[in-house]
């Protein structure tokens, strides 16, 4: 059945390919599942599926439903966490924080859900800061270029300081204070009530340095409380429990502190153990001097430490991250034999004929190092060197002196998307951030990242679509939520085509961008960034004639149709080669008619055939056979779920009762860079090079869970004579035994449900009971997909057969072991891996 079905799909795929219809639209349920996984890393809940069914009555309801889901998901820390990871991939730095391991499970009504990470007490790691910024609704520009981003760092560390003081000496006293007030019949719920109590209290007993403070403590005021009058809003928030774990007031606290201008000064005052009279400091907190200046992520050590001495040097990374300029190394001219060239330096018998070579004319370009003046190198070095100088001066504050910003003029140069070099004089480094965020290339670069993350790198972004996207980016002030809302509302988000789209110019543009790096300094070579390729022609006919010739030359010089020999371009020492993937993309692009950015063919079928004629049969076969097309795997948010997306939530869901240091959760979470994400060492998506480490860890994990479960059952038999212990509830869920336990509790209310289950055998169950257990596990781990219940039942049946076979071994026939075998199977299924 499986293979017949597979053949059918291949046939269908070929038919679809030939009819040039490549899109395959996901159903609404699959779209929800995709959305949920992409934004939260969790399957939707049964309730969400039910809501979806209800929303389906009208198109507008359905759209509203998805919009509300995006908003809801965006608020979850998991979205922030996932976006942060995307950022780290983009910045090529390792995740310095471990907030996910702090995640905990909570029980909400009857539904078992996954709780979000609590606000960490100690985590000031970069990841936490970015997460906070995102959940606080900061814009993308604010994260990349902003002092508000740095503000979050300060806020996080200020909260940490206040919390330390609070926990060390104030918490119990504040509780005692609240108890005393309440026992006196006063309320302390609303802001007004708290304010009234504090007013009355402070009026009665001012908090100066000598006052004994009977309500707070008998031994004197606590350091924090002593100066709480300096910021009553903060005091009220603390009395409302803002510093407690998981408090709903925490966000108010963050918002409040973001208003404070000089947080360092503020925290030193507010936590001081010396009494500070209100009239002295109330103003100084508000008017404290500030050195707020525009910032960039490159002033953060966490980011720049990655780029010290590597090909990802700071300056190059700057252009890559802000302007999507990869800074491809360029070829240097080969001046004959390299041996002779070197030998000339030390050779004594010949006069030094080369000594008086005139300096290259471009040497005067400001801030360019003399050793980089070879014309070919200038293309990059005019951009890199000024920036490098800035970074070497530690970027952040060197331009700032006691008397104000120091003038340090430099040229900020970059290449726009047409390959033109834009040069802007900058008077002071502090102007740079604002300047960059206004560049069209910056907007294009950043908005395209969102496109790649949510729609996919393989899906062509047409000029019209691009304009619209850039407009969305700008009009919404680069708020990620709005950009995500826009992208996920596009048809392309839910048309999950898995066959390669016809290639358009923007699929091959990045390859030509690399050529441009070397050729830009030579006006006799046409720019390959504009299509049709031409040598500054004005008439369309001339352009098209040039285009065909240039295209032919490109094919010939790169020899993409032949074997790996006789390649003229890129030159041997160009610093890059056309990869196999790039090669097939180029061929495919030509085979598809060398489409421009609008998807219009720029060559006729006849011309195409002529250009591709020298191709070996094998080459064309690959291009023309849809079944052998390169799958459209995305570098980050792939259509297929990566293991890392799953393991992020699963161990946390299943493995709930133990501490993380002793469970498989840490082991699996720690492998994130070895699994679905680009490996930092290979810079390739790890799905290409999955090794067995994951399988091994995962197997160990399931075995460990099984053992823990067995122990937990044994303990529960002793501890719980009847009924279901709450702490075992999730365990029962994950093993699929929850419904069964409920049933047992009803039928034999006086017997321990754990004892009953421990004695049960898999082989004692009937088929319906078995399927129910497996289905519950599927619902729990994969998430129910009501529309495709038949397909899932198919999976459940397969799993059941497998477990039936293993249960023939009497040592594995007990219900707990059997249920883990079935879980193991579900997690190994392909169904588990796609939306």
């Amino acid at each position: 059945m499986r293979s017949k079905f597979g053949s059918l799909i291949i046939v269908m795929a070929i038919v679809l390919f030939q009819s040039h219809s490549y899109g395959l639209e996901l159903t609404d349920e699959s779209k929800l599942r995709k959305l949920s996984y992409q934004m939260r890393g969790l399957p939707p809940t049964p309730k969400e599926f039910a809501d979806l069914v209800k929303a389906k009555d009208t198109e507008s309801n359905l759209n509203a439903f998805f919009r509300s889901k995006v908003e809801e998901y965006y608020k979850s820390p998991w979205t922030a966490s996932k976006l942060t990871e995307r950022l780290f991939e983009d910045w090529r730095i390792e995740n310095p924080g471990t907030p996910l391991t702090e995640a905990f499970l909570e029980q909400k009504d009857t539904e078992i859900g996954l709780g979000y990470p609590p606000t960490s007490q100690n985590d000031t790691a970069l990841v936490k800061v970015i997460q906070s910024a995102l959940t606080q609704g900061d814009s993308w520009d604010e994260i990349l270029i902003s002092n508000s981003f740095l503000k979050i760092t300060e806020v996080t560390s200020t909260i940490q300081k206040i919390r330390q003081v609070y926990e060390y000496s104030s918490m119990s006293r504040i509780k005692a204070f609240k108890d005393a007030v309440m026992s006196a019949g006063k309320k302390m719920d609303s802001t007004e009530e708290i304010q009234a109590v504090l007013d009355a209290y402070i009026k009665e007993k001012p908090l100066d340095s000598t006052t004994q403070n009977p309500i707070f403590t008998s031994i004197g005021p606590t350091p924090f409380v002593r100066n709480s009058h300096l910021d009553m809003k903060l005091t009220i928030l603390i009395l409302q429990g803002a510093l407690e774990q998981g408090s709903p007031k925490y966000n108010d606290l963050v918002a409040h502190l973001r208003q404070v201008k000089d947080l360092n000064y503020y925290s030193s005052q507010i936590t001081s153990s010396v009494f500070i009279p209100p009239n002295q400091t109330a103003t100084s907190i508000a008017t404290a001097s500030t050195k707020e200046l525009p910032q960039m992520i490159f002033s953060l050590n966490d980011v720049t430490s990655r780029y010290k001495k590597t090909i990802y040097s700071k300056a190059a990374a700057f252009f890559r991250i802000y302007l999507c300029d990869d800074m491809q190394q360029v070829a240097l001219p080969d001046g004959g034999s390299k041996s002779q060239e070197a030998f000339k330096f030390i050779h004594k018998s010949t006069p030094s004929a080369v000594t008086d070579a005139p300096p290259p004319p471009t040497q005067t370009i400001m801030n360019v190092k003399p050793q980089h003046v070879q014309p070919q190198c200038l293309g990059c070095h005019v951009k890199l060197d000024p920036m490098e100088t800035i970074f070497n001066k530690k970027f952040d504050r060197l331009s700032f002196t006691a008397t104000g910003p120091k003038q340090s003029v430099f040229n900020f140069s970059y290449d726009d998307y047409n390959g033109r070099t834009i040069t802007i004089p900058v008077n002071n480094v502090d102007e740079l951030p604002a300047l960059i965020s206004k560049q069209p290339q910056y907007i294009r670069c950043q908005s395209e990242k969102f496109w790649n993350w949510f729609i996919g790198t393989d899906v062509p972004l047409s000029p019209k679509q691009r304009d619209e996207l850039e407009k969305v980016y700008v009009t919404n002030e680069s708020k990620p939520l709005e950009i995500i809302k826009y992208l996920t509302s596009l048809k392309l988000f839910s048309s999950d085509s898995f066959l390669s789209e016809p290639k358009q110019f923007n699929n091959v543009r990045p390859i030509f961008q690399k050529c441009h790096g070397c050729h830009k300094s030579d006006p006799t070579i046409p720019s390959l960034l504009e299509i049709p390729f031409n040598l500054n022609r004005t008439s369309q006919a001339e352009k098209m004639a040039d285009h065909l010739d240039i295209l032919k030359s490109v094919v010939k010089l790169t020899n993409i149709l032949g074997d790996q020999k006789g390649i003229k371009m890129p030159t041997k020492d160009a610093g890059w080669k056309i990869s196999d993937a790039e090669r097939s993309t180029l061929i495919k692009w030509i085979a598809d008619g060398a489409k421009d950015e609008n998807g219009t063919d720029t060559i006729t079928t006849e011309q195409k055939n002529k250009i591709l004629a020298p191709a070996k049969a094998g080459v064309m076969e690959v291009v023309n056979q849809p079944s052998q097309l390169v799958p459209t795997m995305r570098p980050t948010w792939q259509r297929v779920l990566t293991y890392s997306e799953i393991i992020k939530t699963l161990p946390l869901k299943i493995d709930t009762t133990s501490t993380y240091s002793s469970t498989c959760a840490n082991e699996l979470l720690g492998k994130k860079y070895v699994l679905g994400h680009p490996d930092l060492y290979t810079a390739r998506p790890v799905s290409e090079t999955l090794d067995n480490a994951y399988r091994e860890s995962y197997r160990k994990c399931v075995v460990r869970l099984l053992k823990q479960s067995q122990t937990s059952f044994a303990v529960n038999v002793q501890m719980n004579p009847a009924g279901i212990n709450l702490s075992s509830k999730i365990r029962l869920y994950s093993t699929g035994l929850y419904s069964l336990a409920i049933q047992i509790t009803k039928e034999t209310p006086l017997e321990s449900v754990f004892s009953v289950i421990s004695k049960m055998k898999w082989s004692d169950l009937d088929e319906q009971q078995k399927l129910k257990i497996i289905q519950q596990q599927i619902d729990f781990t994969v998430g129910p997909n009501l529309n495709h219940i038949e397909a899932e039942m198919d999976l459940a049946k397969n799993v059941m057969k497998a477990v039936d076979r293993i249960a023939t071994d009497p040592s594995k026939n007990d219900l707990i072991s059997a249920s883990y075998f079935s879980l193991y199977y579900i997690l190994n299924s392909n169904s588990f891996l796609v939306y």
Binding site: I9, A13, T350, N692
Partner: protein, 448 residues
């Protein structure tokens, strides 16, 4: 647009190859069988950041550095930069000290000419460790395994930063992952593996390969335990070298390449004296420990084995280029791609050998083409491949520039380049042609 239900999508995705079906995870390559009869192992150790051979294998005497010969702008002199040992007509420096007792095992190659067009770390690092001048090259081990037509050779690697260019060579393993293998093959789920799913067939293969490879994994784990004491280091980069050695010693890896130092450790543009020797010595100290360990450890820990790990493994130690003779600001040294050195030991290496040489030129002695090199230049000496000796001054001046860099029957005058070294290593591994560099002269004294 056709609406696909999830089931159809899954199936279609599997058929299109989109879902990396579990059977494609290549367990066979992870646990491929080795052929013990043809063992010959290779380890490449890279000292990233560019070492200063003047402190190690290509030092100069105090007399040579006499102030009368060099001005302070032409040479950055201090005691740490002068030789402490005379060796085979050359000089060895202070950082080389940990290796002095193993000189009979080591072949030193001095005077290696690098890529003159670039003084970039990345370009020259890859060039020196692969012989391929193109950046984005493949590692030499990858190229060698391909040339040997042994795609089954598992190659370990540890890179400090850069993108790994594996040249489509698939059988690779990060050394940091070598600690993650369990020798346990008991699998409580084994009995479910008669299922037809891809998951089951994958797992079945893994188990069967693991059974076959059980001894190797056991040995690997044992060796890793041993190296934790005899080759311990607090430096995480250096630890990778120990892991690579354990991988090779167990027969789990056939080749490996490890970055032993970070750029920041050796790239002493400032405070050369205060940092460079410490870091270089730390690296060489570990290399010395590795030699000892290799000599004491039977291959695969097999006591009946006639060969030690030292006998089996050719180790090549490289860095991107030398450092300048003259000072930079704050007593630092800059990049010098006009010479370099290299160390080899183990396997068939002709220990106790010194090949090639270098010379420090004053500005007045040079025919300089541009203004950048204003100071003394520490430069590789051209090499006579016919006599296998550095060219004398007379030879050099009597050789027209046009005749240099060409090899004829009885005359072959050229620099030693990285590819010269790797070409020679490849030949020792029985390969005459490696795709990443051209054919050419070899260093005949490098191997026995």
């Amino acid at each position: 647009m056709k609406n696909m239900d999830r089931r159809q999508f899954i199936q279609a995705a599997i058929n299109s190859g989109l879902v990396f079906s579990l059977s494609s995870l290549r367990p066979e390559s992870i646990f491929a069988q080795q052929d013990p009869a043809s063992e010959k192992l290779l380890l490449v150790l890279r000292f990233n950041g560019a070492w200063d051979p003047l402190m190690a294998m290509d030092a100069r005497t105090k007399e040579y550095l006499n102030a009368a010969s060099f001005s302070t702008s032409e040479f950055l002199a201090f005691d740490d930069r002068t030789s402490i040992k005379q060796y085979k007509g050359a000089q060895l420096g202070i950082s080389m000290k940990p290796l002095f007792e193993y000189l009979d095992d080591i072949c030193i190659v001095n005077g290696v000419m690098m890529n003159m067009k670039s003084s970039a770390h990345e370009t020259n690092r890859e060039y020196m460790s692969s012989g391929n001048i193109t950046t984005g090259t493949t590692f030499f081990p990858f190229a060698l395994a391909q040339a040997m037509q042994r795609p089954d050779y598992r190659i370990g690697y540890h890179m400090e930063y850069e993108t790994l260019q594996s040249g489509n060579y698939n059988n690779i393993a990060p050394t940091k992952n070598l600690v993650s293998f369990s020798e346990t093959i008991d699998d409580p789920y084994e009995s479910v593996l008669d299922d037809e799913t891809t998951a089951a067939s994958m797992q079945k293969r893994v188990i069967s390969q693991k059974r076959k490879d059980k001894d190797t994994i056991t040995t690997l784990n044992k060796l890793i335990e041993i190296t934790k004491t005899s080759l311990s280091s607090n430096n995480s980069q250096i630890q990778q070298a120990s892991l690579a050695l354990a991988g090779l010693g167990a027969g789990y890896l056939k080749m490996a390449q490890v970055d032993m130092t970070r750029d920041g450790d050796l790239d002493t543009h400032f405070g050369h004296q205060s940092t460079h020797n410490t870091k270089l010595t730390e690296g060489f100290d570990h290399v010395a420990k590795m030699i000892k360990f290799m000599k004491e450890t039977p291959y695969r820990l097999d006591p009946s084995s006639q060969k030690t790990l030292f006998d089996m493994t050719t180790v090549v130690v490289t860095s991107e280029f030398a450092r300048t003779a003259y000072p930079e600001s704050d007593s630092g040294t800059a990049h010098n791609q006009y010479t370099n050195s290299c160390l080899l030991f183990g396997g068939n290496v002709n220990g106790g050998t010194l090949i090639g040489g270098s010379h420090i030129y004053k500005k007045s002695e040079l025919n300089l083409p541009n203004s950048e090199m204003t100071n003394g230049l520490y430069h590789a000496t051209p090499f006579n491949f016919h006599t296998q000796k550095p060219m004398t001054r007379e030879e050099q001046s009597s050789t027209p520039v046009e005749a240099f860099g060409t090899c004829k029957a009885n005359k072959c005058l050229d620099y030693i380049y990285p590819e010269t070294i790797w070409r020679t290593v490849a030949q020792d591994f029985g390969v005459n042609s490696v795709s990443t560099f051209s054919t050419g002269p070899i260093l005949k004294n490098m191997f026995k």
